[in-house]
């Protein structure tokens, strides 16, 4: 079946006319129609069919770019011209974007086919996708479980093969954690690698987009199309983009893998630990050298992140005021009433909590104790990694302390925050990180986390690809 093919295989299939982009697109649209996971907020069927027909005519001329005619799902945080862009919020339920994000433009310029916009935690704030205005997404491996978040719709779509790949964003783990919980490959690149222009901001010094695919090879192919400098994003890195597929087949003999002892302490589920240890043994068998390292400030990432991110969010989300776009309350009696009610009615509970925490931490008299202090801790976390990367090439560990949990089972914010323990430091330090399928515990997929030094995406993808040549976890499917 076409939906079991990887992107690399679909590219070949399109080029050799085994099937057309229209056939591929219709196949995925009908699978989306049959899906009950709530992975999509909007399905853009008509536009997709038009794009597919256009892709077919380009393919017929024989001068198509590599990704012409490949369908994909776009996280609903990326602005798409003429298409609703909600960020999972009632605030933007009526927002039809008047412009394209740079990433949307880039994928369009490859003549790819957008199937629709995926469900997510409101404004990317959440680890379970339960904070979406459009309802929870279900995990394709067990529909009573969460898919992870915030890119939960994207992860569920790729895992259930209703889209060959999806875009995601990762501020504190939002690509890697749902990738882990749904059993797919997710890459969060180095901060600044992919443009943030038109990607609705949550915490600007942490947000980064990336590909969510079934295989590392597919991630490399997609990253080639996503990465690059953008004038319109002031934090975009002016750095050349290598061909990420070039080094995939390099041997891992002599690769130094660091295991942070702090990532294997109390709180880590035994089943997850067993899977991670086995994956490390597999790497050892491939000729890698395993070295214990220490990241002593790992646990401090939680309070540091949950200051920095809410502070930036309270500033970023002040733009939603009911004046220029988005939700406006009925019959405001004055300007202040318009602000207060539009925001209170438009935002969900978790978003309001984070805005208030940020407003408090930034208010007069508290700035030094919270925001400034958190930035100092951030420096310490970054230095921990710098030290470790003097000794090792790649750091490995779990992505999430547990497999996917029951929908509705975690009720308080703090318990939910604590589950982000292994992913937050990577964003604070601006490093690239990946989650790759590494096994199962209680019939639920478990991801292995790969963390690299700044700009080491090639090495991470190579390291992930070699694992996928030796193991079959990435081919496991929750559907026929």
């Amino acid at each position: 079946m076409m939906h079991n093919l990887t992107i690399a295989e679909q590219i070949k299939g399109l080029k050799s006319r085994d099937f057309s982009s229209l056939e591929l697109t219709e196949h995925y649209l009908s699978r989306i129609d049959d899906s009950e996971l709530n992975a999509f907020i909007s399905v853009t069927s008509e536009q997709a069919l038009t794009q597919a027909k256009m892709a077919d005519s380009i393919l017929a001329k024989g001068n198509a770019s590599g990704l012409t005619g490949i369908p994909y799902a776009h996280k609903d945080i990326f602005c798409t011209k003429g298409v609703k862009t909600s960020a999972g919020s009632k605030m933007l339920d009526s927002f039809i974007s008047p412009y394209d994000a740079t990433l949307s433009e880039k994928l369009n310029s490859q003549n790819m086919v957008m199937l629709g916009k995926t469900n997510m935690d409101e404004f990317a704030m959440g680890s379970s996708n339960e904070n979406s205005y459009y309802g929870s997404v279900k995990n394709p491996w067990d529909t009573k479980k969460v898919p992870g978040g915030s890119s939960g719709g994207s992860a569920a779509a790729v895992a259930s093969r209703i889209s060959p790949f999806a875009t995601g964003t990762d501020t504190g783990g939002s690509i890697r954690q749902p990738a882990s919980l749904c059993g797919i490959t997710g890459l969060k690149p180095t901060y600044g690698r992919i443009s943030r222009y038109g990607m609705i901001a949550y915490a600007s010094s942490l947000d980064q987009a990336g590909p969510m695919t079934r295989t590392a090879e597919d991630s490399a192919i997609i990253l080639n199309a996503m990465a690059g400098f953008d004038e319109r994003d002031s934090t975009s890195a002016n750095k050349s983009v290598p061909d990420y597929t070039k080094n995939l087949s390099k041997s891992l003999k002599g690769l130094k893998i660091g295991l942070p002892k702090e990532y294997f302490s109390e709180g880590l589920d035994k089943g997850v630990e067993r899977v991670i240890i086995q994956a490390i043994k597999d790497y050892e068998a491939m000729g890698a050298e395993i070295i214990e390292v220490s990241l002593p400030n790992s646990m401090n990432a939680i309070p540091a992140y949950y200051i920095v991110a809410p502070c930036e969010c309270s500033s970023n989300l002040s733009r939603f005021d009911g004046v220029r776009y988005g939700y406006r309350c009925d019959d405001p009696k004055d300007l202040n009433d318009l602000y207060l009610r539009s925001r209170s009615e438009g935002f969900g509970d978790e978003v309001k909590r984070r805005i208030m925490i940020g407003a408090y931490a930034l208010s007069a008299g508290y700035y030094d104790a919270y925001y400034l202090k958190a930035q100092k801790v951030r420096q310490l976390i970054s230095e921990d990694f710098k030290k470790a990367f003097k000794e090792v090439d790649v750091i490995m560990g779990p992505v999430s302390p547990t497999p996917a949990f029951e929908l509705g089972s975690i009720k308080d914010s703090v318990s939910m925050y604590l589950a982000d323990i292994y992913t937050l430091s990577v964003n604070l330090a601006g490093l690239p990180g990946m989650s790759i399928p590494a096994g199962f515990s209680d019939n639920l997929p478990i991801g292995l986390q790969l963390i690299g030094n700044h700009w080491s995406e090639e090495l991470l993808l190579n390291t992930a690809h070699q694992f996928q040549l030796k193991t079959d976890w990435h081919n496991a499917s929750p559907v026929d």
Binding site: Y99, E231, T235, A304, S318, D337, R341, I355, I357
Partner: protein, 95 residues
């Protein structure tokens, strides 16, 4: 540090959010829970670490002060809740 209901109302107002009186108790409890997590920061010895505002220690790129964007005012007004005479309309501020 712990917040009381009045302080929570004040913070909400700073952020231009309103909290119903019926939800106030619950909100205060939740925010204090999060604050106790944040307060762990105080116990960390940060020595003379420099505050880190940007993950790549990059400086802000500058560009020439030239208009680079097209005029999209019509498109932007089209999606606004209320407009008139090329302006975004809000309730009367000055009589």
């Amino acid at each position: 540090m712990s917040l009381d209901n009045n302080k929570v109302k004040e913070i909400a107002y700073l952020a231009r959010l309103s909290i119903e009186n019926s939800e106030l108790e619950q909100s205060t409890k939740e925010l204090n829970n999060i604050l106790s997590l944040m307060d762990q920061l105080g116990e960390i010895d940060t020595g003379d670490a420099e505050p880190m505002a940007h993950p790549l220690e990059m400086s802000q790129r500058l560009r020439d002060d030239q208009v680079t964007e097209d005029d999209l005012s019509e498109e932007f007004q089209e999606i606004a809740p209320k407009t008139g005479n090329n302006h975004f309309l809000v309730p009367t501020v000055i009589e």
